[in-house]
Symmetry: C2
Subunit: 408 residues, 2 copies
Amino acid sequence: MRNVICCKCVRCGREYPAVPDITTCECGGILDVIYDYEYIKTKLSKEILKKREEPTMWRYRELLPIEEDTVPAGLRVGMSPMYEADNIAAELGIAKLYIKDDGINPTASLKDRASAMAVTKAIEAGYDTIACSSTGNAASSLAGNAARAGLKTYIFVPARAPKGKIAQLMMFGANLTAVDGSYEETFELSKAAIEKYGWYNRNAAINPYLGEGKKTVAHEICEQLCFKAPDYVAVSVGDGCTVAGVYKGLYDMYKVGFIDKIPRIISVQAEGCCPINTAVMTGEPWQPQEENTYADSIAVGVPRNPDKAINAIKDSGGICVNVSDDEIREAQKYLARKAGVFGEPAGVTATAGLMKLSREGKLPHDAVIVSIVTGNGLKDIDSAIKAAGEPKHCKNDLKEFEALGFFD
Amino acid sequence: MRNVICCKCVRCGREYPAVPDITTCECGGILDVIYDYEYIKTKLSKEILKKREEPTMWRYRELLPIEEDTVPAGLRVGMSPMYEADNIAAELGIAKLYIKDDGINPTASLKDRASAMAVTKAIEAGYDTIACSSTGNAASSLAGNAARAGLKTYIFVPARAPKGKIAQLMMFGANLTAVDGSYEETFELSKAAIEKYGWYNRNAAINPYLGEGKKTVAHEICEQLCFKAPDYVAVSVGDGCTVAGVYKGLYDMYKVGFIDKIPRIISVQAEGCCPINTAVMTGEPWQPQEENTYADSIAVGVPRNPDKAINAIKDSGGICVNVSDDEIREAQKYLARKAGVFGEPAGVTATAGLMKLSREGKLPHDAVIVSIVTGNGLKDIDSAIKAAGEPKHCKNDLKEFEALGFFD
């Protein structure tokens, strides 16, 4: 990979050659992929991008850690829509709001970006089996992308994962284990099994390439805004890998000169599970927390990627905000009704954070903000019906219909 | 609309001016939108299309019934992925199979194409409220696209509609009525209410513009195959509107000279509810049937658009095949595991039909076939789990994991 210099530990700084099945540093630290941006600038320009027809995350391949002759594997991932939501911006009291709907990806979450990268790297490395633990979305995206690529999967999810994600996993033919325990225990079991059986490791905080897939959401945000950087990018935070990926994508865009500033990250966690935001807000090392939120994708009491996440928030001059489950439910309905975007609970948490910051008068009136929706609401139908209610019933009778109360 | 000549009854041939809120013919027949293809050929070429950046159904706007200055409303619909599935083609014994995954649309079904058209025409016509009846997908897509466009909706679904679709409708803020009765009764109630209250009518077999939205799936198929027409396009059939739309899109492409033949339609219905296929296969007028299939989107015993559907199948030299619910469940797992595409039951019915035709030796070995997946499997999670099974459980213990039987 001529564009990649090495993989470097974010904790101790040690450097490693970027082989396709590299995991963590000997010190236990997470690795970051280091690029040769000067070389990349000779290969990629805004004009080249504009002419590129590829409607996927791979349109940014000069900024991705794959060999020049690698054919990307998996489903058609990326280039999700970004909607201008002037009505919501007006209500939040800001200049512009854009909703980046990543729930439209093939298995209905942003995690498809990491999983498409994972199957591509696994094939580069010569593996035929790939494994991960996940709160659900990484799992279902891995299962789908691996099915498309012809790889076997072993997947571990907490037994609490919503039925939609379980259904996807079973359908895609994953060898699926539902772990009766927390996400932490699920992760530990997957780690032990991967070590024993030598499968390709798609655990996001272990495999440094996955965040490199996720970062393409930020590349797209910049390109969709014609490379005029927004002031803020709001993102829901659980494990820390997604926010780290978003920052990395923005950093890439800045380093190749496509944008002239790095937007500030707005990191939104659930009040009932906010170890990363707590660490940033207090300046203390992060501490494990309970997983007290119904937003399953961000119910991560022991984040696996706190270092990169905390760096991302701090280095961008970011803002942290925590929201209640009720505020998440409110945001879910609000976003669906005002923008036509139905996100899963964790998927709308970023928007819940913006709503709260707006109520507290903390958003500048001239702010241009992008809010990322990380997953589709169909992933967790039971929670959605609880939030939005049940329909009214009647027989085929106009009088009965009129008595339902729509016109009261 | 310089590109549109008129709306013409498919039954009696009477012609009407193409006003934006036109419905059916005085004779009760369904209208077809008639284009001036010679004029369109002066405005649209393959080369113009190739250069067009718009990644939506509106890239074919010269072939769509909207005013030249109309700004399309609704969500970002269309340009769904089409996957080459060589592994499945080999097993079916055909030359090429392409899976067109329309479940990736914003509200997760092909119906988004019709609903984006509906909200666009409703705004052209000056309406602020739009209504429909639906087995579920037309409803949820209307609710989502209308929410994005700022229109109010009144929506009627049979009470049997799966929870995923209900959840979408409630989230998008539709005024939703679940009708305790068949689809036929649901339709009748919507008709009565629309007549009384004067809402814009998004019932697909009433409003001639909706099929014009749906047809863009066929435009895309042709463009994605670089205008080399496939031999067959397989599609699941319920109400008849989708198959009619698919044929219309292929017809358009042929009439403007972009393809050199019209592919043959493979019309697939459920054995428990197949009035349209029965009519084509027997040559008799269609007769109402029971709605005995779990594939809710095509459980339509009284199709609202039999004329256009039957013409489409016949005019293309099409093939009819009916499949059992078990065959649909089998196709659902097969497609997810072999192609990474998780469709809802009606969404995979076309593929179930191909599997059956293959077993019966009815598919030519040199055939190039496109199979359309009309909706995402997350719409109906309970059915998916019934088909694919529940996961195995264990605690965070490698021995327990190894005893689950994955390696037996």
